[in-house]
């Protein structure tokens, strides 16, 4: 083995050594270990009781289903963040990819008898093609206009599903395709967790690479990226295709588990398109980690609220009846308190607590832009971009 490859290996092992990692990554690893160990921990008497109590359900089997569903939603949120969080082109219709992946896979499985493993691949491919179809307009139109295009695309698809209900099942959906790993709650939990980790590692590595830096640069100043001789078109299309493929993977795998099914209300309702944005912005837009955490939060909090039977005195309604309303209020408050996302706030808090000063070159160590040193955060940058479009539209430059 050459010295070069030995030193590379050392570098790799050094990077992967948990003891050498920053605190936030240690916390992340602990969280990950906890997610992996939940089914094992439950069989331990005292620890198991604790685990059951913190599950978003009143039994651990149901809790595992709920967490599995949340993991799929977190994958979906990460795929949104990969394109919108990094390039700043806000997609209001990301459910399109989720639906294309889910429906394609279900139809290949139910209509053509393909195994779910193969049909999921078909779903991913077609979702990637959908990424191209949305990505190409993104080359010509930007900002709010592109957001409108992404908003309209799933609405057109929904109408197509209803219009051709003999093929797509209309509002009723397609029924139940084969399950990837049967109906068991533990096996499906690990399926969801495994996919979540794979998507997370892929997107984390990619967004921390040069490609991620270029995508971030496109968000900040597209002209500067072009001036540097880089093709913004190529990278924008790449971001949409990647995001589409991963959103499609999440949707395709989701319909082959007991927690999901190919129906319009599950895969492409307007509310899902909104929730995914809330998840990524709340967690920390343009960080992947934040989108993952936000996705888990947004998917699980209503389940927790549903468990509370306490009746609010004046209104006479129980907390569980108002779960979505309360969830929306909590989200609104959190978004106001942590405009850069909970993750950035947590990292800044941790640094203050440990007396450290922050990451390098204005980048938060998770790869996102540091709110303290790198100028504005992705949310602010995106808002600035939108402001610029509006100013141009209404002659703001003349003032």
């Amino acid at each position: 083995m050459s010295d070069k490859s030995t030193s590379r290996l050392r570098l790799l092992f050094g990077t992967l050594n948990p003891l050498g990692m920053p605190l936030r990554q240690k916390i992340g690893l602990l969280g990950l270990a906890f997610l992996i160990a939940i089914p094992l921990l439950v069989s331990l008497p005292v620890v198991g009781q604790f685990v059951v109590l913190i599950m978003p359900a009143s039994s651990w089997e149901l809790g595992l289903y709920n967490v599995a569903a949340a993991l799929f939603f977190a994958m979906f949120a990460m795929s949104w963040d990969a394109v919108s969080g990094y390039t700043g082109e806000i997609s209001f219709g990301h459910g399109l990819f989720f639906a294309v992946g889910g429906y394609t896979s279900a139809m290949l499985n139910m209509g053509h008898g393909l195994s779910p493993w193969v049909s999921i691949l078909g779903g991913v491919l077609l979702a990637a093609v959908a990424g191209v179809l949305i990505g190409v307009p993104a080359l010509r139109i930007e900002g709010p206009y592109l957001s409108l295009v992404t908003l309209v695309a799933p609405l057109i698809l929904l109408q197509l599903f209803i219009y051709m209900s003999d093929i797509f099942g209309g509002e009723q959906g397609l029924g139940n395709p084969d399950n990837l790993v049967g109906l068991g709650f533990v096996s499906n939990y690990f399926l969801a967790l495994g996919l979540f980790l794979a998507v997370f590692v892929l997107l984390w590595a990619l967004t921390r690479s040069n490609t991620g830096a270029i995508l971030t640069a496109i968000r900040e100043d597209e002209d500067a990226v072009s001036a540097a001789g880089l093709s913004t078109a190529k990278f924008k299309i790449f971001a949409f295709v990647l995001s589409g493929a991963i959103g499609g993977l999440a949707g395709a795998a989701y319909v082959h588990t007991p927690v999901g099914s190919p129906t319009p209300s599950e895969l492409m309702s307007v509310i899902i398109n909104v929730e995914v944005i809330i998840a990524a912005v709340l967690g920390g837009m343009g960080t992947i980690v934040g989108a993952a955490l936000g996705g888990l939060f947004v998917a699980m909090v209503p389940d927790y609220l549903n468990l509370i039977e306490f009746t609010v005195p004046v209104i006479g309604k129980s907390i569980s009846e108002m779960s979505f309303f309360l969830f929306a209020i909590v989200t609104l408050v959190l978004l106001n308190i942590f405009p850069g996302g909970v993750l950035r706030w947590g990292i800044a808090l941790g640094r203050r607590a440990t007396g450290r000063t922050g990451g390098e070159e204005g980048m938060a160590a998770d790869g996102g832009q540091s709110p303290d040193e790198g100028g504005t955060d992705p949310v602010e940058q995106t808002i600035e971009r939108y402001q610029e479009y509006y100013d141009n539209m209404f002659g703001g430059d003349d003032e």
Partner: protein, 458 residues
């Protein structure tokens, strides 16, 4: 009153969940309620509080002292269809508790009501809460077909008898027929499935068309999923009648302006609009009455089935005909009016069709459990297949596994005599008397309360 879903009460037989059986064969389990009790005593005790034997599949033998009925209803707090499901299940439970013959060894019949929000995802979640957390011995309800279809797999997984009391999609029974061992736990107590709903419209027109004077009809069907099998049945059978179909229109979902559609009906010269409407029903009926269109109106109009619909539409639904499971005026069996009055006493309102069916489902299940002396799902499935139970809506018999509509309630059209088997939906007309509306029955003749009367402007 509808409860908030908090009332549950899985008995010892199945109130706990199997732990780790799939994961490592570990048969210990955790009972969260036990744990919460134990937590108050001390931390040391909690460690052992959940380590109890058994599992959900071990509810197999005998009848436990507490029985739990799980109910899935759309917005049971304020939707009349959901409220009828929920309130009728509770009424059945209280009648079972008072009954010395049915479930005689049972101390309490708990009813746990969950809101499906008409969403497949929510429905599936609530179904799992009922079966996994609360150990329901049977489940019932479910109004929307898309929710029911997404419950078929969880039902087969939990192997708990489910008796549908609202959703009409024949897809569910097709699944039972094609994969019997997997899906046999599903029964549809009512209404008759979507195909039979359409067939029943044609059967009614065949039997009563001449009395109505409808020699030609304009078929108006709203473009929603539920009308697909209805439309198929009408297309299959209406050609057998001596009735002309002057026009046929499947109009867009969400239609609010019926002016152009009614202009076409007028131009076609049809005697009546023969309809299948649910979502678009109110603007359709109000505009027909307001504009005094020169044709009559009837078929399946789901909203007209609501006993309070006359007041809700300011009398606009007067003279329209709709198919219904039963009405507060129709003594379909000797149980119908007793149930209606008991429901009215308890809730100060009359039930919608889902109420009759849900009451029947719970009572029929209790009959079979009593006969078989067990809540074991496989035994109950066999019992229900062999059961012929007289409920409030008629004779409850199910098609067998070999039938294309396996485990659906048997449909039996009979204009003049009570069918010995199966249910025979009624057709009602909204009529006015003393300033209020009443649902007078036209068909079948053995419960009819009036003859058809055309609107005065036609």
């Amino acid at each position: 009153m509808v409860n908030d879903g908090s009332s549950s009460g899985a008995g010892d037989a199945n109130g706990s969940e199997e732990l780790g059986s799939e994961y490592n064969g570990n048969k210990r389990r955790i009972d969260r309620r036990r744990f919460l009790q134990a937590a108050g005593v001390g931390a040391a005790a909690t460690g052992f509080a959940g380590c109890l034997g058994g599992g959900p599949s071990e509810q197999s033998e005998g009848i436990p002292s507490e029985v739990t009925v799980g109910v899935l209803a759309p917005a049971p707090e304020n939707n009349p269809i959901g409220a009828s499901i929920a309130n009728s299940a509770e009424l059945a439970a209280s009648h079972l508790e008072d009954n010395d013959e049915l479930l005689s060894g049972v101390d309490s019949v708990n009813v746990s009501i969950k809101n499906t929000e008409e969403s497949p995802q929510t429905g599936r979640q609530r179904y799992r809460e009922l079966t996994l957390d609360e150990g329901a011995h049977m489940t019932t309800g479910v109004f929307t077909s898309e929710v029911l279809l997404q419950l078929m797999d969880p039902i087969s997984q939990q192997q708990t008898v489910h008796m549908t009391t609202g959703a009409a999609t024949p897809e569910a029974s097709k699944q039972v027929h094609e994969e019997y061992d997997k899906y046999k736990y599903h029964f549809r107590t009512g209404p008759v499935n979507g195909y039979h709903l359409g067939q029943n419209m044609v059967d009614f027109l065949g039997a009563k068309g001449s009395d109505l004077g409808w020699d030609s009809v304009a078929l108006l069907v709203e473009d929603y999923e539920w009308t697909n099998p209805v439309q198929r049945a009408i297309d299959d059978h209406i050609g057998d009648l001596d009735v002309e179909v002057a026009m046929e229109q499947r109009y867009a979902s969400g239609t609010e302006n019926f002016g152009p559609i009614y202009d076409n009906v007028e131009q076609s010269g049809a005697d009546a609009a023969f309809v299948a409407m649910a979502h678009t029903g109110t603007p359709a009926i109000v505009q027909w009455a307001r504009d005094q269109r020169p044709f009559e109106f009837g078929g399946i109009h789901v909203l007209s089935q609501l006993p309070s619909y006359y007041e809700q539409t300011g009398g606009a639904c007067g003279y329209t005909i709709t198919q219904n499971t039963a009405t507060p005026q129709s003594e379909l069996t000797d149980k119908t009016l007793d149930y209606v009055e008991a429901f009215n006493d308890a809730n100060d309102s009359y039930p919608v069709y889902t109420g009759y069916i849900t009451y029947d489902a719970v009572m029929q299940w209790a009959n079979v459990v009593t006969e078989r002396e067990t809540v074991n799902a496989d035994e109950v499935v066999t019992g229900l297949e062999e059961s012929s139970y007289t409920g409030t809506a008629g004779s409850l018999d199910y098609y067998g596994p070999d039938h294309e509509y396996a485990h659906d309630i048997m449909y039996n059209f009979s204009p003049d005599t009570r069918p010995e088997e199966g249910v025979n939906p009624v057709f009602q007309q909204w009529r006015e008397g003393d300033g209020t509306g009443s649902q007078e029955v036209l068909h079948p003749s053995y419960v009819s309360s009036t003859d058809y009367e055309a609107p005065p402007w036609v």
